[in-house]
Every structure is written in structure tokens, then in C-alpha cells.
């Protein structure tokens, strides 16, 4: 039956591939952008984060304005117009974090990661490209929606003459900071997705990190929560984008602490990606 097969072991010369083929970081970035934009779940999650940032900011600003007459003097004293308008970020961070997790855990769940890593066997360029595309797209969207939330919020607050302009003290820091915070949280989500390789595990750790550990820590003795608390990602984040009266870290220190968290998570993710079987 095999007589029809010529044992053509003498190699016929083929020139495989196409002219100019080669893996470059720029090409992998381009590929990751294609992947990012071609998933509906990615776009929906991103849209949810936008809606939460702007919608909740507007809601909180509107409610603050309409209840201003009955607001206590103490609450009036801690009121900050900028923070009020971008506060939706404390909720949209979950959507952005989930988006980060999904972008990587989704590839493990479906097996796509094996195709991605077979095409780019050096592996790390894939992670860098994902981080870059995420930072670019989510950074632009998050900062833009923080600005939108700010302007919408201020226009609602100005009905009670509470609104401030973008040139008022700390306004730019808080608005841009809120967008930057979202990106950093999302990158931590990506790192968790790469470390855990599982969507459910990644999202639960994201929730634990942002919403469970901070309140649990505040139940511990004050000496504990005071020394550790400010260094938690969410609290360090609020130090640079929020308005907390009893800040333990300066805005710059908060940014550096959150960047350190992010860098550590990314480093761990990179090591696992490079060293372990896909």
C-alpha cells in the first residue's frame, strides 16, 4: 500500500515562510491589539468600567447636590468636589481588574495560550505586548472617563455652587490619578491571571485584594492596621488619587507603593510564564 509513496528522502529544496518574516516586539504588540479588539467580552467589560466611573460619579455628585441643604456641618467640612465626582472609580476598579484577569486567564481557559506561545516561543514578548496594549487602551479610556466624570460631576454640583474648575488645587492630580489607578489595578489583575491561570481564582483574588483584605485589616489592632494598612494597594492608590483626611502616605509615596506592588506582581507573572510549562 505504501508503494505509491515515493521514499523521497532526498530533500527537495523548499524555502519556507514569507519574505520579511520574523518575530518583533512591535508585531507582537500589533497582534495583541488585534486580540484585544476582537473579543466582545473585553469590550463589554471595558464599557462597564466606563459606565461605572462616569455614571456613579454623576449619581454621587447629583445626590450630594440635592441633599446639600440637609448635610451636616461635619460632612460639609470633609466634602471634596473633585473626589465626589470621580468616586465611581472605587467601583469601576473591579471591572478593570476583572478585565485584566480575563485577558490572560481567558487564554489559559480556552487553550489559546498554547497557540500564542507556539507562535512566540520566547514567551515574554507576549506578556509585554499584552501589558502595553492594556496600558494604552485602558489608560486612555480610564483617564478620559475620569475627566468625563469630573466635568459631569462638577456641572451637577454647580447647581449648588459646589463645583470647582479643573485648575483648582489637586483637581488634575485626582482626576489623572484616578485613571492611572485603574490601569495599575488592571495590570495587577493581568498578573494574577497569569499567575493563577484560572478566571475564577483570578477574579476572587482580585476581589479579596481590593474589597476584603482592607476592611478585615481594619478589624485588627490599631497598631497593626496603621502600619500595614496604608501599604495595601487600594489604600496606597487612594493616597494619590483620593481625598482622605487622615492620609498616611503622601501622593507620591502612594503612587510609588502601588507601582511597587504592580511591578512585583508582573515580575512574578513573567517568571511563571517563562519558567513553567504552558
Amino acid at each position: 500500500m505504501t508503494s505509491t509513496l515515493s521514499p523521497a528522502r532526498s530533500e527537495v529544496k523548499v524555502a519556507p515562510g514569507f519574505p520579511g518574516m520574523k518575530v518583533t516586539q512591535a508585531r507582537v504588540i500589533n497582534s495583541e491589539f488585534t486580540k484585544f479588539r476582537s473579543l466582545r467580552s473585553t469590550n463589554i467589560t471595558l464599557l462597564v468600567s466606563v459606565v461605572l466611573t462616569i455614571g456613579l460619579g454623576a449619581l454621587i455628585s447629583g445626590l450630594t447636590a440635592s441633599h446639600w441643604a440637609t448635610t451636616s456641618a461635619a460632612d460639609r467640612a470633609t466634602f471634596n468636589a473633585v473626589f465626589t465626582s470621580v468616586r465611581g472609580v472605587t467601583f469601576s476598579q473591579l471591572a478593570v481588574g476583572v478585565l485584566g484577569v480575563l485577558l490572560i486567564s481567558g487564554e489559559y481557559a480556552t487553550g489559546m495560550i498554547r497557540a500564542s506561545l507556539t507562535a512566540v516561543p520566547k514567551r515574554l514578548p507576549v506578556l509585554w505586548a499584552k501589558l502595553l496594549v492594556f496600558t494604552g487602551v485602558v489608560g486612555a479610556v480610564s483617564i478620559a472617563s475620569a475627566f468625563a466624570a469630573f466635568f459631569l460631576g462638577q456641572s451637577l454640583l454647580s447647581s449648588k455652587h459646589l463645583g470647582v474648575s479643573i485648575s483648582s488645587p489637586d483637581a488634575l492630580r485626582m482626576v489623572v490619578g484616578a485613571g492611572v489607578y485603574l490601569v495599575l489595578v488592571g495590570i495587577i489583575g493581568m498578573a494574577l491571571g497569569a499567575l493563577l491561570r484560572n478566571t475564577a481564582a483570578g477574579i476572587s483574588s482580585m476581589v479579596a485584594l481590593l474589597f476584603v483584605i482592607p476592611p478585615v485589616l481594619s478589624l485588627l489592632p490599631k497598631s497593626w492596621s496603621d502600619t500595614v494598612g496604608p501599604y495595601l494597594p487600594s489604600n496606597a492608590g487612594e493616597a494619590f488619587w483620593g481625598h482622605t483626611t487622615d492620609k498616611h502616605l503622601s501622593a507620591l509615596a502612594g503612587l510609588l507603593v502601588l507601582c511597587a506592588w504592580t511591578a512585583a506582581a508582573v515580575a512574578a507573572a513573567a517568571i511563571r510564564l517563562k519558567k513553567q510549562d504552558a
Binding site: L5, S10, F18, V23, V28, S31, T110, G111, T118
Partner: protein
């Protein structure tokens, strides 16, 4: 060309591949056979650089694939488990892969046409049938016009037309001088497609031979002899490595003696023959015989055709390891 040398891969205390050494040569289709859990997919994942060998090494086109400059021109891979994001369209899946290596965009449409997925290229890959998924996997393997093609069970789930198409495709790719390495459990198809075979069992090499040779090695090759003097002939043929069975009078089924030897023997002893015919084993028979004691996962049926495994046969397979 793929060179696997002393490859061992353990997962915890499970040894999936044990000291495996073989070469897959360009210009022919090489089949990769072995019972379930024999280590075929594991070996293929190591070839693609996805799993790190515990010891030993693998070279693809004489280089380490993990450091390839143009990976998709070196190796095209179809993995057993679907490696496709279920929510992405086939077109975007292929486009994203093509972009990493700078494969021209026109090639994406070309492979989509080649595998016959034009109509569904813009649909979610998650909705594809098994066969459509296989076609998409084959399309991604061919995307970079690779020198070496490794396909894990490519014809699984394909319709007869698809199987024929894959057979011709693989033969064509090999004829162009490429290295083609495919695993499959469909023996009849392997017999038609492959020229050479690598057979593994429990992670170890059982055979590294051409298909014809492999089939010839099988002791299930039977010579059917018809003779009015069957009883007399039987006495002359009996020997230590010979098995003779007889289902009807005047007919002997002889294993372990060649057609020529039987003919000559009959002539020398003036025994009249009315029929002398070699019934060659199929690849499937040969495979079953060679891997019988390497099968980890046995199905138990009351009507097992292969329970009459003579100890000698198992010995043959054992010696080969």
C-alpha cells in the same frame, strides 16, 4: 527535521515520556502511534517548546525552537487540545497569529480558503463543530508556510472528504521536502498516509521503522495452505517458533514460516498443494500486537478478539524496547 534525543518528561511522579530518541526526516510523512497515554501529545508539546523536558533535548530543523527567529516558518503545530479562544472569530484568530511573525495578511485568507472555512471565517470559533475546529487548527499550522509540520490527531472528527483532503495535503507537503509528523489512532488512514512510523508505548520507543517493515514484523502474518496432505505437511512444519491452526480439514493457517519456505518444503517432500497464500497483517493488527503489553487503559469486553495473544508475541514487543 525533528531530532528527539533521550527525552524524558515527568509530571510529578508520573513519567509521561521515558528516554525517547528518534528522528523525523524531511520529505516523508511520519506517523506517531501509541496507545492512549503513551506520551505522543506530551512529546509534541515538548517539540513546540511548550513543555520543558525533564531531561534530554529536542531539535527542530537543527535548532532550539524556543530561540527561533522566525518560529512560524520553522514549525506549524496542531495541538490535540483546541488552542483557540472560543469567543474570537476564525479570521481574527488567524490574523492575530499571523501578525506576531509578520505573515502577510493575504496568507490568512489563503489558508482559510485552503481548509474550506470561508463561509464561517467571521463566526465565533467556539461555535465550530469538531471537524471545523480541526480545519481551523490545520489552517493555523500552515499559516507561516512552515518547514516542519506537527499535527496531533489531525483527522479526528473530519468527514471522509476531509480525511482524503488531509491525506493528500500531507503527502503534498512532504513531497515539497517538508518534515511532516502526525499522530493518529486511525490505523487504516496512517497506513495510507505515512511512510515511516514512530511507535511508542508507556512513554518508550517500541518501533522506528517504515510502515511496510512494521507490518511485515507482525507475526500475525499468516500463510494459508490448502493441501490434501495437510496432516503430513503439518508434521514437517512444526517447530519452536511456528504456530499452526486449522479451522477446516485440508487447510492450515501457518504463522512463523514464510510462503517460500512452505512451498519449497512441500516440493521437497512431494506434498501436493492446492493453495498457498500469504495473508498480510494490517497495520492495525501489527500495532495491536506490538503495543499489547504497553496498553495502559484496557477496555474489558467479553468478546475480545485478541485474547489469544501467544506469549511469544508479547515477548517480541518486549525485546524491542
Amino acid at each position: 527535521m525533528i531530532e528527539v534525543s533521550g527525552l524524558t518528561k515527568r509530571y510529578g511522579d508520573k513519567t509521561a515520556v521515558n528516554d525517547l530518541t528518534f528522528k523525523v526526516l524531511p520529505g516523508i510523512v511520519t506517523g506517531f502511534l501509541g496507545p492512549n497515554g503513551a506520551g505522543k501529545s506530551t512529546t509534541m508539546r515538548v517539540i513546540a517548546g511548550l513543555d520543558e523536558p525533564t531531561s534530554g533535548s529536542v531539535l527542530v530543523n537543527a535548532g532550539d525552537y524556543r530561540h527561533a527567529q522566525v518560529p512560524m516558518a520553522e514549525l506549524g503545530m496542531l495541538l490535540e487540545a483546541k488552542a483557540v479562544h472560543t469567543s474570537r472569530s476564525a479570521y481574527n484568530h488567524l490574523l492575530a497569529l499571523a501578525q506576531t511573525n509578520g505573515v502577510p495578511r493575504s496568507r490568512v485568507s489563503e489558508v482559510i480558503d485552503l481548509v474550506g472555512l470561508r463561509e464561517v471565517a467571521r463566526k465565533r470559533a467556539g461555535g465550530f463543530s469538531l471537524g471545523m475546529g480541526q480545519r481551523l487548527g490545520i489552517a493555523s499550522a500552515l499559516l507561516g508556510d512552515p518547514q516542519t509540520i506537527v499535527l496531533d490527531e489531525p483527522i479526528n472528527g473530519l468527514d471522509p472528504e476531509g480525511i482524503l483532503w488531509v491525506r493528500n495535503l500531507l503527502k503534498g507537503l512532504a513531497a515539497e521536502g517538508r518534515t511532516v509528523f502526525i499522530s493518529s489512532h486511525l490505523m487504516s488512514e496512517m497506513a495510507l498516509t505515512a511512510h515511516h512510523l514512530i511507535v511508542v508505548g508507556r512513554g518508550e520507543l517500541i518501533a522506528d521503522v517504515d510502515v511496510e517493515e512494521f507490518v511485515a514484523m507482525a507475526s500475525t502474518n499468516v500463510v494459508v495452505v490448502r493441501s490434501p496432505q495437510a496432516g503430513e505437511l503439518r508434521g514437517l512444519l512444526l517447530g519452536p517458533d511456528v504456530t499452526i491452526t486449522s479451522k477446516e480439514a485440508e487447510v492450515l493457517e501457518v504463522r512463523g514460516v514464510s510462503v517460500e519456505a512452505i512451498g519449497d518444503l512441500a516440493f521437497d517432500h512431494q506434498i501436493r498443494l492446492h493453495g498457498l497464500e500469504l495473508q498480510q497483517a494490517s497495520l492495525e493488527d501489527a500495532f495491536m500486537e506490538m503495543t499489547r503489553d504497553s496498553v495502559e487503559f484496557h477496555a474489558h469486553t467479553t468478546n475480545d478478539n485478541h485474547t489469544e495473544a501467544p506469549a511469544r508475541l508479547a515477548q517480541t514487543a518486549g525485546d524491542r524496547r
